[in-house]
């Protein structure tokens, strides 16, 4: 599901919400996205784990803006990410949003 185009586009849209609507801190953005999907706030451990992912992804993509561009292009044909962040930093939130979307708790089977 992480590779399903629908879920990629959804991750892009969720990342945009996280950046546009939450207070501009990593944790607040993660909490906002998490609540949108799971109707509950994350535990502090959950925030910490996603923060670590965001930092890792941001550092990796900052050194490779071309990779960030290709990732965002793969998400949607109509890119309109928030102007407040660089594309590679925004891409790191897309990575986080994709993980939240793919959590077992978000994928209701039963």
């Amino acid at each position: 599901m992480m590779n399903d185009p629908v879920y990629l586009e959804a991750a892009y849209a969720l990342a945009a919400r996280m950046v546009n609507e939450a207070n501009p801190s990593v944790d607040e953005r993660i909490i906002h996205g998490f609540r949108w999907l799971l109707t509950r706030p994350p535990t502090s451990n959950e925030v910490a784990r996603l923060r670590q992912l965001q930092i890792d992804a941001k550092n990796k993509l900052a050194g490779n803006p071309e990779q960030a561009r290709r990732l965002l292009d793969a998400c949607t044909a109509n890119r309109s990410e928030p102007a407040s962040l660089s594309p590679d930093e925004f891409a790191s939130y897309v990575v986080v949003a994709s993980v939240i979307l793919n959590l077992d708790e978000a994928v209701m089977r039963n």
Partner: protein, 460 residues
């Protein structure tokens, strides 16, 4: 600052525990009580299971199950009926109609004899119609089971009955049971793989390879013959292996933590599915690439790597069926490659065997020969190939449908149109299993064992 953040987060967490979360946790508590009651009956369970240990040592390690979806006609393939031929065209005697219901048949229908000529083949003297010339060469490696019946005369419930033991949705398929019981021999490939041909998936849908109430990791994974073998297996642009690894690690960590607090084993299933998918990203493309096969193997099956069947894109695939369509052959070869790599259960569905109408694509007299030519050489090649690789003794190959046809035509206003009903209660199935060495033939003990294995699923 950090402490304030942590405090406010946990406080908010407590405040926002909703009824939904409460009910989720309450369910766990009740489940735990039920579990403790079940554990008390442990010794009973242990005694029951020790009583059912088989007395013969099973040799089969994997199964290749070829399901002809739509129900192939047993009267035109395996069942020579000279008496029926005598009554061809006569009105059906009342004694066969009284108190019975048949799909599409009203009033007094006329009898329809087998439409193709029969002969006996091999040392076992099996009857086969002239529609399966390749199979006749290996018939001594085949058991034809003539005793199977079903009480379902619509395709979907009949397919569900064959594959899950129940004519209703929601039960675990035989492939998921087998992988649940025996596990997989290859941790980089799914234990249960499904391949489809004939332009459509079977009418019963994905429930035919579902896991029902078993953990969903045991459900069949459908591989496509064309393009990407499994949809969305390839990472999107911009996600490299390192980034993908990080994402799966984060997902698994969060799922595991959630599982520890909620106790829902589906979270663990999802963890293992993402891990398997990650490994499959490198193993599956190699496993399904039949173009690596030698020319002689491709010829044996009649396989054509990369073939794009017209049936896959046609609105009604039956209208474009060609006898030389190699899609089923490609899938048979693929099945051997998967079993070779340790896949436990490979299931092939070939759509388009529902022949109770008029052509194009729906008649016994015109379409059945086309479908037979699509599968005869390939299914035979599968037996020959497995045998020459020394794999036939450990691989059970099953061929069958969900039912057969009635011995009479359906009532139709068009004179001489050979429309038959699918509502018959005899299913044909033949198979070869190396369970007992060279034992094979219509009355072998091997065959009896297999029948039990299939029909006992109906007994609760």
């Amino acid at each position: 600052m950090e402490i304030t953040m942590t405090l406010s987060t946990s406080l908010r967490h407590l405040q926002q525990i909703t009824r939904r979360h409460f009910l989720g946790n309450a369910g766990l508590g009740i489940g735990a009580m039920a579990l403790s009651a079940l554990l008390d009956t442990n010794d009973v369970v242990a005694r029951q299971s020790s009583a059912t240990i088989p007395t013969t040592r099973p040799k089969a390690k994997s199964i290749i199950y070829l399901h002809m979806a739509g129900a192939p006609s047993q009267l035109d393939l395996f069942e020579n009926k000279p008496v029926l031929s005598k009554y061809d065209g006569h009105a059906c005697p009342q004694q066969y109609l009284a108190g019975k219901r048949f799909a599409f048949i009203k009033g007094v229908p006329t009898m329809l004899a087998p439409l193709f000529s029969y002969a006996r083949y091999g040392q076992s003297g099996q009857w086969l119609s002239n529609l399966l010339p390749h199979l006749s060469n290996v018939i001594d490696d085949v058991c034809v089971i003539r005793s199977m019946t079903t009480d379902q005369f619509n395709h979907v419930p009949a397919q569900l009955l064959m594959q899950t033991g129940q004519p209703r949705f929601g039960y675990a398929s035989i492939g998921s049971w087998v992988t649940y019981g025996l596990g997989s021999e290859n941790s980089n490939l799914p234990g249960f793989v499904v391949l489809a041909s004939g332009g459509k998936t079977p009418d019963g849908g994905k429930s035919l390879w579902g896991s029902g109430f078993l953990p969903s990791v045991f459900q069949g994974v459908q591989c496509r013959t064309q393009g990407e073998p499994i949809l969305y297996l390839t990472d999107p642009q911009g996600i490299d292996r390192e980034l993908r690894r990080w994402m799966i690690d984060a997902t698994s960590d969060l799922n595991r933590a959630k599982c520890e607090s909620s106790g829902d084993p589906e979270s663990l299933t999802r963890i293992s599915q993402y891990e398997l998918a990650y490994r499959m990203q490198t193993t599956v493309p190699a496993a399904v690439n039949i173009s690596n096969e030698s020319k002689s193997t491709l010829e044996l099956y009649g396989a054509v790597p990369g073939y794009q069947s017209l049936a896959d894109t046609a609105d009604d695939p039956r209208t474009v069926y060609r006898a030389d369509d190699p899609t089923f052959a490609n899938n048979c070869l693929l099945a051997r490659r998967l079993v070779e790599r340790g896949v436990r259960f490979v299931q092939l569905y070939d759509w388009g065997w529902d022949h109770h109408g008029s052509s194009p694509g729906e008649s016994v007299d015109e379409t059945l020969p086309i479908k037979c030519r699509q599968i005869d050489r390939a299914a035979t090649a599968l037996l020959i190939d497995l045998k020459q690789r020394g794999m036939l003794d450990e691989t059970l190959v099953v061929w069958g449908g969900e039912f057969g046809r009635t011995p009479m035509m359906r009532t139709t206003s068009v004179p001489n149109e050979k429309q038959v009903s699918s509502g018959v209660t005899i299913t044909r199935m033949h198979l070869r299993c190396g369970l007992q060495g060279a034992v094979s033939g219509p009355d072998s003990r091997t065959a009896q064992l297999m029948i039990l294995a299939i029909t006992s699923r109906r007994i609760p």
